[in-house]
């Protein structure tokens, strides 16, 4: 009978999908209150990021950088979740697919390209940008985000931390441990789930049984949301609420974005092996950029001409970042020895000397 009760709960109804814009760009309900500047900035970011992502995937395919994880299709999730964060104050703990959020937060695109080229310097965020290096070990970064909120609480500060996982990232134990710690300590943490339907090839139905991931919030008595991840106004709105809650000591929030990656999981992945083209097209018909563009045009904030210009500017900006990355110095031999510890151990110095002597003998000097 208890079972019936909990079984009776309709989670899809309990966690309705937050949507502000219909796919055709019209409003679902009343006009949200964003400034024109915010609206234009959010759209500009999406245009820039789409361009960045497409170019980066090409670089990878051309072998100008290593394996890359594209996010095209998930721009609204990336921009909305990083948009409200305070540079130099708040923290961001990204996955390998969140380089959109990273850039909104202040990481230069050139750094991200350097990371994927295979240079640790790409993870050296600017001093005033609290973006942790990309976390590849799935879900571990959720705990890091909690630690920031907890430390801030102890230091009587209000730093907010945002972290991300995908749908697959809700399965590791760290996902649970992080939500539980955050709930017990009431930390200012925003937990984002970018549910793009697949963990590489593994579909949601093999990953979890429930109709929503937002309902995981019920296990910890924290607020949970489901949001249309192709609707930038919805992602901005919900993330603002979560940010205000976090800053004001209201504790953590769990947000499930319903989204989709248009491209492969990473460069070598072949999505045709596990999903139908029709599914891709259905999602592309709900594209976040198209939707926002229509909205802005209807609102008279954007013209086709301005939009084309914006695209050109984006391309120029992206190319500049790529150029910067490709012009950056290649990592030095010393780099691999200098940052293992604050001060290299005597043994490390011996190994460094051995390697330099060996390369010198090979007539290779520092070069590779």
């Amino acid at each position: 009978m208890e079972m019936m009760q909990s079984g009776q709960l309709d989670m899809e109804q309990l966690f309705p999908v937050r949507r502000v814009l219909n796919p055709d760009g019209t409003l679902v309900g009343e006009e949200p209150n964003f400034t024109t500047e915010e609206l234009m900035s959010a759209y500009r970011w999406m245009v820039y990021l789409r361009t960045f992502d497409v170019r980066a995937l090409n670089l990878s395919r051309q072998g100008r950088m290593g394996t890359f994880a594209p996010f095209a299709g998930q721009e609204a999730c990336q921009v909305g979740s990083a948009f409200w964060l305070r540079r130099g104050k708040d923290w961001l703990f990204p996955t390998y697919r969140d380089h959109g959020s990273m850039q909104v937060m202040g990481v230069p695109g050139a750094d991200i390209i350097r990371y994927y080229m295979g240079d640790e310097w790409g993870s050296h965020a600017p001093e005033d940008v609290n973006v942790f290096p990309i976390s590849i070990p799935i879900a571990t970064q959720y705990l890091h985000a909690v630690g920031i909120g907890w430390a801030a609480k102890i230091r009587k500060q209000d730093n907010v931390a945002v972290s991300y996982v995908g749908d697959g990232g809700t399965s590791p134990g760290d996902f649970h441990e992080a939500l539980n710690f955050a709930a017990v300590q009431n930390t200012g943490t925003i937990f984002i789930i970018n549910n793009n339907g697949y963990a590489i090839s593994t579909p949601n139905r093999k990953q979890f049984k429930t109709k929503t991931l937002a309902q995981r919030a019920l296990a910890y008595d924290i607020p949970g949301y489901r949001v249309d991840g192709q609707d930038i106004l919805a992602t901005l709105q919900v993330c603002k609420e979560a940010f205000d809650r976090a800053v004001s000591g209201g504790g953590p929030t769990l947000i499930e974005f319903l989204t989709f990656r248009y491209g492969p999981h990473t460069t070598p992945d072949d999505p045709k092996k596990y999903r139908a083209q029709s599914e891709v097209e259905a999602w592309q018909a709900k594209d976040a950029l198209e939707r926002m563009k229509k909205y802005l045009i209807n609102k008279g904030l954007l013209t086709e001409e301005q939009d084309a210009k914006m695209a050109e500017e984006a391309l120029a900006a992206v190319n500049a970042e790529i150029a910067k990355a490709e012009a950056a110095p290649r990592p030095k031999l010393d780099d691999i020895f200098d940052y293992v510890y604050a001060t290299p151990t005597p043994e490390l110095e011996k190994q460094r000397a051995y390697l330099k002597a060996f390369l010198a003998k090979q007539g290779q000097g520092e070069a590779k």
Binding site: Y96, E120, L333
Partner: protein, 325 residues
């Protein structure tokens, strides 16, 4: 006989085993429909269905943990961990349960499981995808650890691991997956776990390694031969059990040895090989055993990977070092 790459041999071995024994199944991330990120399980989903080629939720502790009792129940799991660095979440299950259940229960419960771990560097992958993790388990009784260096051994060791009544970590050198083809019998056969192979005979210096660097040693041996130094190359094939007889006999003969592994130097498994040489044939040594290893740094990102990895020239230098000691 057919010419196969190392990964084809692994794929073939799993299929052969699954046809013979319906208790064998594969579990891991993307090992089903997708055939694995390296295509190691290609075609297995199609032939054996989703109950025997299981796409698990993304949780290593989870699918290694459930596989433990599935093995205890009587099934024969082949667990694929997608990359070496992602075995870490399952560490507790390996050291506290899988390695110990036979001993803890005095034989009442056993855990015959094969854990496939795409391992080591050299393919310019992202970070955490090129790790040498054998040292997490080389000091852990109850587990066996094998590392094939060629397609023939890959198939034979896999089938031997599946026959083994105890858990076997099967470390796959990613770098060798498609680097060359070799003759592999189509039929069922096993390569005994715990027996090293003499990959090349020689008289002056013994080179000891496993996996990728057996080939680094062979390449170095060629270069040394050109300089008039004859090297014997030992392919350990198994880290645990460790076949000391084979390499001790060789060192006794040559009086000189170079150990080559890719893990960081300090505390690496190669030091156990040096310790065994110390234990038994110290008096035969004409020179200290040389070691060519990774450095005491985290595995560098791909632009610096080559700086880190042992290569034939570094091994050659070591060979000349022990020869001219």
């Amino acid at each position: 006989m057919a010419k196969m790459t190392l990964i084809q041999a692994i794929n073939d071995a799993m299929k052969v085993a699954m046809r013979r024994d319906d208790r064998v199944f594969i579990i891991g991330e993307d090992v089903g429909l997708n055939g694995g990120v390296f295509r190691a399980t290609e075609g297995i989903f199609a032939e054996f269905g989703e109950e025997r080629a299981i796409d698990a939720p993304l949780a290593e502790s989870g699918f290694v943990g459930v596989s433990t009792s599935m093995a205890v129940f009587g099934l024969r799991p082949i667990v694929e961990v997608q990359f070496d660095g992602f075995l870490a979440p399952a560490h507790e299950h390996l050291v506290n349960h899988i390695a110990r259940i036979r001993n803890r229960s005095r034989g009442r419960f056993t855990c015959p499981m094969v854990l496939r771990i795409p391992s080591f560097g050299g393919i310019k992958a992202l970070e955490h995808h090129s790790e040498s993790i054998e040292n997490w388990y080389a000091n852990n009784p109850g587990l066996k650890i094998v590392v094939p260096s060629n397609p023939y051994d890959a198939k034979g060791l896999m089938l031997a691991a599946l026959e083994d009544p105890d858990p076997v970590l099967y470390m796959e050198p990613k770098r060798l997956y498609r680097s060359f083809r070799a003759e592999v019998p189509e039929e069922y056969y096993t390569v005994e776990i715990g027996k090293a192979a003499v990959a090349r005979e020689g008289t002056d210096v013994t080179l000891i390694s496993y996996g990728v660097h057996v080939h680094t040693c062979l390449e170095a041996a060629d270069k040394a031969a050109a300089k008039g130094i004859s090297c014997e190359v030992i392919d350990l094939r198994s880290i645990n059990p460790l076949d000391e007889e084979t390499f001790l006999a060789s060192v006794k003969k040559t009086g000189r040895a170079v150990v080559v592994t890719e893990a960081p130097k300090t505390g690496g498994f190669h030091s156990e090989i040096i310790a065994r040489i110390n234990d038994s044939v110290l008096d035969y040594l004409e020179a200290p055993v040389a070691r060519v290893t990774g450095f005491d740094v985290p595995m560098p990102y791909l632009l610096s990977e080559d700086l880190y990895l042992p290569n034939a020239d570094r091994v050659l230098e070591a060979i000349e070092g022990v020869k001219n000691y």
